[in-house]
């Protein structure tokens, strides 16, 4: 099984107990596939019902493609300022 490394931050990093999570998914896939796979991982049940995802430093949609070499990150509710 292939996997994609996903960056997690703040409360999501606490949920997974890591800052990078290797998510088992066939590549290429979509953002929605990555999120679905992450919910099945230890700690994944702590994710909220809707999760924002960034691909290559830009907010992505559920249908956005994810392939080898893409930088994928889960973005918890932001709280800058």
């Amino acid at each position: 099984m292939m996997s994609v490394p996903v960056l997690v931050f703040a409360s999501y990093a606490d949920a997974f107990g890591a800052r990078t999570v290797n998510v088992p998914v066939p590549l290429p896939c979509t953002v929605a596939d990555v999120v679905l796979a992450m919910r099945a991982l230890p700690g994944g049940h702590r994710l909220p019902g809707h999760v924002l995802v960034a691909v290559n430093h830009a907010y992505a949609k559920p249908g956005t493609a994810v392939g080898h070499g893409d930088e994928v990150a889960l973005i918890p509710p932001v709280a800058g300022g």
Partner: protein, 150 residues
């Protein structure tokens, strides 16, 4: 003097923010108004006594989003120059967490752009804060309280 074509200054930094550096960046001879904003750590939030805040950022994306905000402001107000710097790490009450400077020939665009910049930063830029409270508890702040944005 600096040129009005100078690009926006956007940065995530790990140490104290010097507002004068931002002002110097946006200043040039065509500027008639510089509007600045400082966000600081306050001692109470939602009725709880805050003792400090840890800020965390997804640095490359945070800087990309701040650059995008600066570009959007520049498209809205021609001739605007922008500097936005956010600090990460452990901050104490009173520390400056974010600084913004917007300069324009006229005061209204400078002030309006500054306000627009901080509001956009708070909803779009991937930065998080963990508040520490008297008594030792802490929590990651969720300003959306579960409502999805952006």
């Amino acid at each position: 003097m600096t040129s009005p074509e100078r690009g926006a200054l956007v940065q995530i930094v790990g140490s104290a923010i010097d507002l004068n550096r931002l002002v110097a960046h946006v200043q040039h001879d065509g500027v008639g108004a510089v509007a600045t904003f400082l966000g600081t750590v306050r001692d109470v939030n939602d009725g709880r006594h805050v003792t400090g805040i840890d800020y965390e950022a997804y640095q490359p994306m945070a800087e990309a989003e701040m650059r995008a905000i600066a570009a959007e402001l520049g498209a809205q107000w021609e001739g605007l120059s922008v500097a936005m710097v956010h600090r990460v790490g452990t901050l104490a009450v009173g520390d400056v967490s974010v600084a913004i400077a917007c300069a324009h020939a006229r005061r209204a665009p400078a002030a309006d752009a500054m306000r627009t910049a901080i509001e956009a930063l708070k909803v779009r830029v991937p930065i998080w804060k963990r508040e520490h409270y008297a008594g030792g508890e802490w929590t990651w702040v969720d300003p959306t309280r579960g409502v999805v944005s952006p």
